[in-house]
Every structure is written in structure tokens, then in C-alpha cells.
Symmetry: C2
Subunit: 297 residues, 2 copies
């Protein structure tokens, strides 16, 4: 009925046989349809972070290969139920949503318990030892870009880091590099702010429910901070998956990024073959490649 912009996205090309994408229009829906069970992985419960809001649940996958110290500190905070009853303190248009203790820095600040107050930054790691599925594309910010352990990554040959794409989960910090400790977190809800790469510790990315954050009213204060307590959205709880009862965990699968299927998906996004496209661009940017997620009911 509507002139659905990009409606052909919903068209599913049935790809005959197990793998003959070269003979068929290679679309993302076709690639996913022909994927097999081994193309998907189930993140371990301890690598999932559940953020419960009144409106729904946001689930992040954590990246221990990039930020083990910040994730360990976060685990300690979640163990202590540190975040329960805290709030979303910032929502900045085309940028980030951030949650924290509104009383931080005052006498009403919550105790961090066993968690450390300062942490050595994990802005990047060594490139060595990291298997990157390279994306053959130009990138404004880095020499090498691709995917590793389920995350969009960039590298300068020696160092590697998670790229600030839409939905990434980061650790807020003050001016001192070691002032981030996972007690204040943010999610990207706008065009990839890649200038933050290597300047903040990124610890994961949203798999489900990011719309509960991205649709929050923007804060009217400087940098999108809310100006009054009434404007803030409460955070009910934040838990690691293994801190939840088994019945409360969601069975999530993420498409592996080191497979032929994922390479096919990249090519399907690069050369859009859906009928709607008049002039397929033949190119794709790092943050424009989706890493598909599915929930097992």
C-alpha cells in the first residue's frame, strides 16, 4: 500500500540447494535463509548484559577480548545490584544515551563495593592474536576494518579496537584516561561517532531492545543531560546473564562473523540486488554491515 522506502528488503529470494549464492541474487534475506545452524553461535550467559527498564529489556553482548578489566569491574557492580534504581541521566540527539548514579560525586553517591574506582584504560588491544574478517572497504578513520569475535573492529596494524558503530556500549569517563570504571555506561544512538574510537573503553554492543534507549526524550541540558530528576528514566536492574535464573535468560543467537555465510552477507550488502535498487552502490561501510541476531523461542 505504502511506497515503502526500500520495500524490497522484505523480499525473500529462495536460494535453492545448500549453497549456490553465485547463481542466485545474493540478498541478505537469501543469505540468512540459506544459513545453517553452525553459522550461528549462542553467546555464553556470562557474556550477556541484561538491562531492565520499565518499558522493556535491552540486551548487550560483552567483549571480554577487548575490555576484560572493565567487564570484570562491571560484574562486581552488577553482583552488588549497584545499578538497581539508578537512572538514565543523558539522552543526546544523534549521539548517546547514558546511565549512571545521579548522585555520583556527591555525598549521596552509591558505594562501588568491591569494584575499583579507577581502571587502566582498555581503549585498544594488540592486533596480534585477533582474527579479523577484513572488510574490503575504504574507511575514513582507520587503515583496516572488519569484524572480530562478533564486533565491528578497526586497526592500525599494531592496535585493534571496537569501532563506535550504532549500538556500541561504552564506559563514560572524565578527562583522566583512567577515570572510567563501568559505573557510568553509554550506548550509541546516532551516526557512528568514530572520533571516539581509541578514546573510550568499549565493552560491547546491543543485541536486542536498543529502541528502548534510542526513543527516550532528549535531555535539554548541555550534552543532552536531563536537568531534573523527573525527566530521568529509572533503571530497574542490570545483570549478567549468569546472574539470572535460567528461566529469565533469553536464548539469543548471533551470526558468526568468521564464516562464508557472513562474507556472503557482506557481499549482499555491498551490491544490493533487491529489485528496488535502481543504481546499486557496490560498496559498503563498516557500520552499515548488520551482524544479525535471532531469538530462539
Amino acid at each position: 500500500m505504502h511506497k515503502a522506502l526500500f520495500a524490497a528488503c522484505a523480499v525473500v529470494f529462495v536460494i535453492a540447494a545448500a549453497k549456490s549464492p553465485a547463481q542466485e541474487p545474493l540478498t541478505m534475506s537469501g543469505v540468512l535463509r540459506s544459513s545453517t545452524a553452525s553459522d550461528w553461535r549462542q553467546p555464553e550467559p556470562e557474556d550477556l548484559l541484561y538491562m531492565q527498564l520499565d518499558k522493556g529489556l535491552v540486551v548487550f553482548e560483552l567483549a571480554p577480548d577487548f575490555a576484560p578489566r572493565h567487564i570484570e569491574n562491571l560484574r562486581s557492580l552488577a553482583d552488588d545490584h549497584y545499578f538497581d534504581g539508578l537512572a538514565i541521566v543523558r539522552s543526546q540527539e544523534n549521539y548517546v544515551v547514558q546511565w549512571a548514579d545521579p548522585g555520583a560525586g556527591s555525598s549521596a553517591a552509591r558505594n562501588l563495593g568491591q569494584a575499583k574506582n579507577e581502571l587502566e584504560p582498555e581503549f585498544y588491544r594488540t592486533r596480534e592474536g585477533l582474527a579479523i574478517t577484513r572488510l574490503d572497504s575504504e574507511d575514513a578513520y582507520a587503515d583496516e576494518v572488519g569484524f572480530a569475535t562478533g564486533f565491528p573492529v578497526a586497526s592500525d596494524g599494531n592496535r585493534a579496537w571496537i569501532a563506535h558503530c550504532y549500538g556500541t556500549l561504552g564506559v563514560g569517563r572524565a578527562t583522566a584516561a583512567n577515570s572510567g570504571n563501568s559505573s557510568e555506561l553509554y550506548a550509541v544512538i546516532g551516526h557512528a561517532p568514530r572520533h571516539l574510537d581509541r578514546n573510550v573503553t568499549l565493552i560491547g554492543r546491543a543485541l536486542l531492545g536498543l529502541q528502548h534507549l534510542s526513543t527516550l526524550p532528549r535531555g535539554t541540558g548541555s550534552l543532552g543531560f536531563y536537568e531534573s530528576a523527573e525527566e530521568r528514566t529509572p533503571v530497574r536492574t542490570i545483570r549478567f546473564g549468569d546472574q539470572l535464573a535460567v528461566a529469565d535468560r533469553i536464548q539469543i543467537e548471533v551470526l558468526r562473523t568468521d564464516t562464508q555465510t557472513f562474507s556472503d552477507l557482506i557481499e549482499a550488502r555491498r551490491g544490493r540486488r533487491e529489485e528496488w535498487f535502481v543504481d546499486p552502490v557496490g560498496k559498503v561501510g563498516l557500520c552499515n554491515v548488520p551482524i544479525p541476531v535471532r531469538v530462539i523461542e
Copy 2:
């Protein structure tokens, strides 16, 4: 109080004298502070589109150098008050918000009046005759990128087009290239979907109020379409600036993109000199360069 991610953004460096950016830390706030009246332009009322929602106003600047036919058709529709009482029909996470006649295609469809039902697409224009302030950056999608007539643009040397950055305003269409007619419009509310470049007619970009669209609840139907009338947000009115009483127009100024000041701003975004940045990236992507807007009270 908070560990404001990127708090240094708010720090204003006072730049002495009219123009000595080379001697001072070149930050965006510093560049704007040292800008002069001639660095700014007031878009003509006929080049502004006012979209009134219950929650507030969204103002777009139109791009007649790129899409004169679609803007002329849109003017005819706005003249007829075609959009008044229509609705936002789609809100897709990390993608677009779209508005249209919910009855389009049915017997309840509104009449387009003098506006044409089909229009020759304006997916691109000739590169010739367009003054582009080039951005010296790699781009995943185009050989040449930069800014022209106040818009982020890309080019392959022969053709030039507006780039699908956050906030761009486009014309929805069905599969046929000529099926867009400005009666269904969308705004980008996610990471730049540059694969749509040259496949849709873009007619402008948001200057003010985009948060009224980006924070709308996401539609739960395919492609983010709302599944019931109750979910849709009404559109009160859509008017060109010159169709409004003078008292109802907003005095908006946009930083010129063909000036030394704008080049300074690009460099300030490329090499972040704010104290907060530990490892300034030294690079900037097309859709990461803001084109500043201010309202004259």
C-alpha cells in the same frame, strides 16, 4: 558531576583577535566563537519546510539545486494543505521515520490536486556547475565527498548527489524509479544509510527539531511501519516558510560551507584538540562534520 562522555565539547577556547586559529587550539566551539556575521546565511523562507507536530516543530532546509521538480511538487501539495491531518506511518530503528497518507492506494486516498503523481527521478545531478568544498577524507561510498549549498554531498566526477547522512529528507518511492512524488517523505534517524544514495531523491535536511521524529516509538510491523491507526503520530501541518505569516517564521542561520571558517571547523573536527581526547584520531568522516545552525531570537 557526571563523568560526561566527551565533556570537553562544552569547553570554549577564547580565540584572541579575529583569526589566529593556527596559534590556538582549534576546536569547534572556538571556531564558532570567532565566526563573523558573514560566515552565516539565512535560508530564504521558500527554501524552508515547517512540519508541525503536536510535540513541536521540525524545520528542514530544502535543496532546489538538487531536486527542483520534487520540491515544486511538494510546494503544490503544501499549498493544498495536503499533509494536514495525515500521519507518521513508519519509525524504523536506526533507519528512517516516514510520513504519508495512511489511505494512499485505497479509495480513501487524498487527491494530489495539481501535483503530479509521477516525477522523473532526481537521484543525482551533474557535477558540473556545482561548487564543492572538498573533504579530504576516505569515504566508503564515493570518490569525492564534501559540502555544497549547505549539504553533505558525494560525487563520482560526473554526477553529484546529496549524501544520506543523519537528518536528510528524502522522497519515498515504490519500485518504479518515477513513483516518488513528494507525497510520502522520510527523514534519516540512524547511521547514514549511504547505500540509498543515488537510489532515492533527497530534497533537504533537518535544521531543527529532528528529535521530535527520532524519539517516536518504533513501529512493530515490517520495516517499522505502524500496525494500527492508534500508533501513528498525527501531522498537523506542513508548510513552506513563505506560506506562513511572517510572525510564524523562525529566523534561522546556517553556517556557510564555502568559507575559511567552515574549513577551520572541518579541521577542528578532524584533529580533536579538546583536553578530553587522549588519542585524537586526526580524521573525520563526511557525516561526522556538523553544519551548524542557530536561531536568531
